[in-house]
Symmetry: C2
Subunit: 218 residues, 2 copies
């Protein structure tokens, strides 16, 4: 993985809990690669709108896709700014005081003005990145998009030029005055787990669950 | 649980895949109750900003909190519109074609202009809702906020008047022409799992892991 410290902009600078801010490309990429759902924010009629969506990554480009008719795709492909946030929830932090309760998490926030991918080859590549992000290995087996499917889909590319990560890890940080309280404190770790695979009806009898599904992990 | 069909507004109406739109209060509440992280979108200097945060719910009010100094709290408490989205990722949907790949998910999108909670009693209640949302039972044990902690925190209330859910469940919906392909298809279900609890140092020796942590489930 190429190491490239992302430049810190006024927007990406982590202002609350600055000690949690991370700006290295390596960390940003790793969080994006582990995440599954991005929350895309855009402005519609002056109001913020946040929608969940899938994504993929190639080097420092994030690919998003959606129906060519979707409002957010039209806007995002039309030179309007977006904010894309990916959050991994790592655990609950139970402190002795209500106030010090927290979550362990790793998040990435990307600001930018995406571009609509119009080049046919990049569009196919962007879609492949998204499928490979969800299920590595899948694009070798699944049928590639045909012309109608390509027309029905918009692919949007967003550079990771203006991105930052924020990480909270470890136990509660209680006031020492609270240590004596007869209250359990600690972390309840959380993670996403997968499986067992549920085959669709109509899968031909000789087709087994592929290894990349059987051994799926992130 | 009170049943109240939320009115459908132009903003909450699910436009893409309208068959996935759900507007019943019961469904919206259940998704919010199962979720852990909300993605709050607001507009800052004309740009969308999306940040992850904890939340709690009481009836049809969503409570969010943050540092009193945080930009988004100032904005959200200052009469500016927000969009709050909670997404539960339920699984990967592997179709025979790249195009038909999907995710199973349940999401809620809430639009509105929140209010800053200034009433001391409601503020304490809002914070309790947030802690109880994260770890039910916890607020009976953890020390309640003191005056300094209360001053340092902003609590923001957002009504669920303008909210909708979107749900995708079930297997892939392939074109029949693809059924014969020798490609496995189906669902790889996903869920958040917890534990085992990691005690903090300094927990007094006789304090055991409480049942609400030991048996934590969502």
């Amino acid at each position: 993985m190429q190491y490239r410290p992302a430049p810190v902009s006024p927007r990406t600078k982590v202002r609350r809990h600055p000690e949690r801010g991370v700006y290295e490309s390596e960390t940003i990429r790793a969080i994006l690669d582990e995440g599954m759902v991005a929350h895309v924010g855009f402005v519609e009629n002056g109001t913020p709108v946040v929608i969940p969506t899938a994504y993929g990554r190639d080097a420092d480009t994030l690919y998003l896709h959606g129906s060519a008719a979707a409002a957010w795709c039209k806007r995002s492909g039309g030179g309007e700014p977006v904010c894309v946030t990916v959050t991994l929830f790592d655990g609950l932090v139970l402190a002795r005081s209500t106030f010090k309760h927290s979550m362990n998490y790793r998040s990435v926030v990307v600001f930018g003005t995406p571009r609509l991918v119009t080049d046919r080859r990049e569009k196919l590549h962007g879609l492949e990145c998204i499928v490979e992000h969800l299920v590595p290995g899948r694009s070798r087996e699944a049928r590639a998009p045909n012309e109608n499917e390509l027309l029905a889909t918009s692919v949007i590319a967003l550079d990771l030029d203006e991105a930052s990560a924020k990480i909270r890890a470890g136990g509660p940080i209680d006031d020492e005055a609270d240590f004596g309280r007869p209250v359990w404190a600690g972390v309840l770790p959380s993670s996403m787990t997968y499986g067992p695979p549920q085959p669709d009806r109509n899968v031909p009898p000789l087709v087994d669950v592929p290894d990349y599904v059987k051994n799926y992990a992130r």
